[in-house]
């Protein structure tokens, strides 16, 4: 007679996507980004990411894997919020043109506009 061994379930508390991404996960993601960049070719940029949590890393890993292996089972929307195509690399304008364009379009800043969001709160916290 064949012996059947019952295996207990893993507790739900084991699920911790907010834990810090390990060195392995970071290396895994970095390598996938490198290869996705090679696959995308010189006209497309693959953004480099530095996720802090394992859950964030999983999202990006899913995007890249689908890009490299499109026959993978579709990754559900909850995992990949939106199928993001690689951004095209913007061609740089010559420095002189960039400077003149900046002069034409940049609005004058008021003193208040220089303050970054959150700076008021930080200032308040110091008091």
């Amino acid at each position: 007679m064949v012996k059947v061994i019952a295996i207990p379930k893993t507790p739900k508390s084991a699920y911790q996507p907010s834990r810090k991404a390990s060195d392995l996960i970071k290396a895994h993601l970095s390598n996938l980004e490198f290869m996705a960049g090679k696959m995308a070719g010189p006209t497309r940029a693959i953004r480099s990411t530095k996720p802090r949590s394992e859950g964030q890393a999983a999202l990006r890993i899913a995007e890249l894997t689908q890009m490299m292996h499109p026959t993978t089972d579709p990754v559900p929307a909850a995992i990949v919020p939106a199928a993001r195509a690689p951004r095209p690399i913007a061609r740089k304008k010559p420095a002189a043109k960039r400077a003149s364009a900046k002069k034409r379009t940049a609005p004058k800043r008021s003193a208040g506009a220089k303050r970054r969001a959150g700076s008021k709160k930080r200032a308040g916290a110091r008091k």
Partner: protein, 393 residues
């Protein structure tokens, strides 16, 4: 040729993450001749006190931070500052990470056998290797490279290094020889750690774990399958959660147990597939956890890692192995509760075995792989056993 080898049509390798032999199986010392822990093994802590091994390992929350297992740290664990491999530096190496003496002692904890019902049952039921070592005293990716290429091409770390390499992976070799091989990764949010360049160039060599389950059910497995567990905690569209099953600290070890059982059951429960299959469950490296067996010397790999890469101030000639890891060969053709002694195995044995089995003479591979042991001679039963266990999940 043994009847088991003649019957064999499918070899499946499941590679788990970052646990040493003693950490997982040390508590089975003496069972069928297993070389585990006597209970008297010690390491000195940073105060000079001896820390004894204890069966207090927990599934999660104990090895946090993740014990260092980069080359320099593993060197310290093995040599403890000396010139011979004494295995006396594990506690001091773990201390380096948090400067916490109490935390550093936990690296000596091992699992009581009853806490690992799947792995322990498979050991008692099938064939365990007393001397299977990681290929490099270093981290995951370079060790896993040995399972696919028979070498890491001179690398001892986690960087990508598979582009334009001189030796073909086992999967490409099989494809060229009109055989078949596939890497089954868990899903897109876990992906394949192994060979991103193959993922780019050879997508037909890959499938997901769902494909593996389907292929087992439909008796469509390739000759060689390599399974990757889930490396990340993540969700699917319905909000269902997937817990990482690779057993990498600090992932829950029981989920890895369940994953091993799932792979085993997929083969075991198909009566057509089971008698023509073998499954190797093996860990990629020790992940910083204690083991008492000094790694042996080995035929050099033909590559050299420079001092800047090793972090030890010395070059590494790939002439010795990493720390010992659990490895169990599972098949109805292996004798119940058998233990392999007197032979040294490491991850280059995997492509060596598959190549010998499926291709035969094949010269274009690393010196290490050419000199590696193969393991299909262990299928020695005269007929497939009918008493093999099943798991209920």
């Amino acid at each position: 040729m043994t009847p088991g080898l003649a019957a064999l049509k499918h070899l499946v390798v499941l590679m788990m993450e970052n646990r040493s032999f003693d950490h997982m199986l040390g508590g089975l010392n003496g069972v069928g001749g297993i070389d585990g822990l006597s209970g008297t093994e010690t390491n000195p802590d940073t105060n000079g006190n001896l820390v004894k091994v204890e069966p207090k390992a927990q599934y999660q929350g104990q090895l946090d931070p993740d014990p260092d297992h980069h080359f320099a740290a593993v060197n310290k664990q093995i040599f403890a500052g000396g010139t011979t491999p004494s295995m006396q530096g594990f506690v001091q190496s773990y201390f380096d990470q948090q400067r916490d003496v109490n935390q550093s002692k936990k690296i000596m904890y091992y699992f009581a056998p009853e806490k690992l019902p799947v792995l322990t049952s498979l050991v008692k039921e099938f064939c365990t290797f007393n001397r299977w070592f990681s290929s490099i005293p270093g981290p995951t990716l370079c060790n896993r490279a040995f399972a696919h290429y028979g070498t890491s091409f001179g690398h001892v770390s986690q960087e990508i290094f598979f582009v334009g390499v001189q030796f073909k992976s086992i999967y490409e070799r099989l494809l060229a020889a009109n055989s078949s091989g596939r890497v089954y990764y868990f899903d897109a949010a876990s992906s394949s750690l192994e060979v991103p360049n193959l993922l780019k160039n050879q997508p037909q060599l890959f499938g997901t774990f769902k494909n593996f389950i389907d292929d087992c059910g439909n008796d469509r497995l390739p000759a060689y399958s390599f399974i990757e567990p889930n490396y990340t905690d993540h969700q699917d569209a319905s909000g269902a959660t997937f817990i990482a099953s690779d057993q990498h600290p600090d992932h829950h070890v029981r989920e890895g147990e369940r994953f091993i059982a799932l792979v085993y059951n997929a083969l075991r429960k198909n009566p057509v597939l089971w008698p023509k299959s073998a499954l190797l469950v093996v860990y990629d490296e020790h992940g910083g956890t204690f083991d008492h067996v000094p790694p042996p010397s080995v035929v050099t790999d033909g590559f050299v890692a420079q001092p800047s890469a090793t972090g030890t101030g010395e070059a590494f000639m790939f002439d010795r192995l990493g720390v010992r890891v659990p490895a169990v060969l599972i098949s109805p053709w292996v004798p119940k509760g058998s233990v392999v002694n007197g032979r040294v195995f490491e991850h280059a044995c995997i492509p060596a075995t598959v190549t010998d089995w499926q291709i035969g003479l094949f010269n274009d591979r690393s010196p290490r792989e050419k000199n590696s042991e193969t393991f299909l001679d262990l299928l020695t039963e005269p007929a497939p056993r009918t008493d093999c266990i099943e798991f209920r999940l």
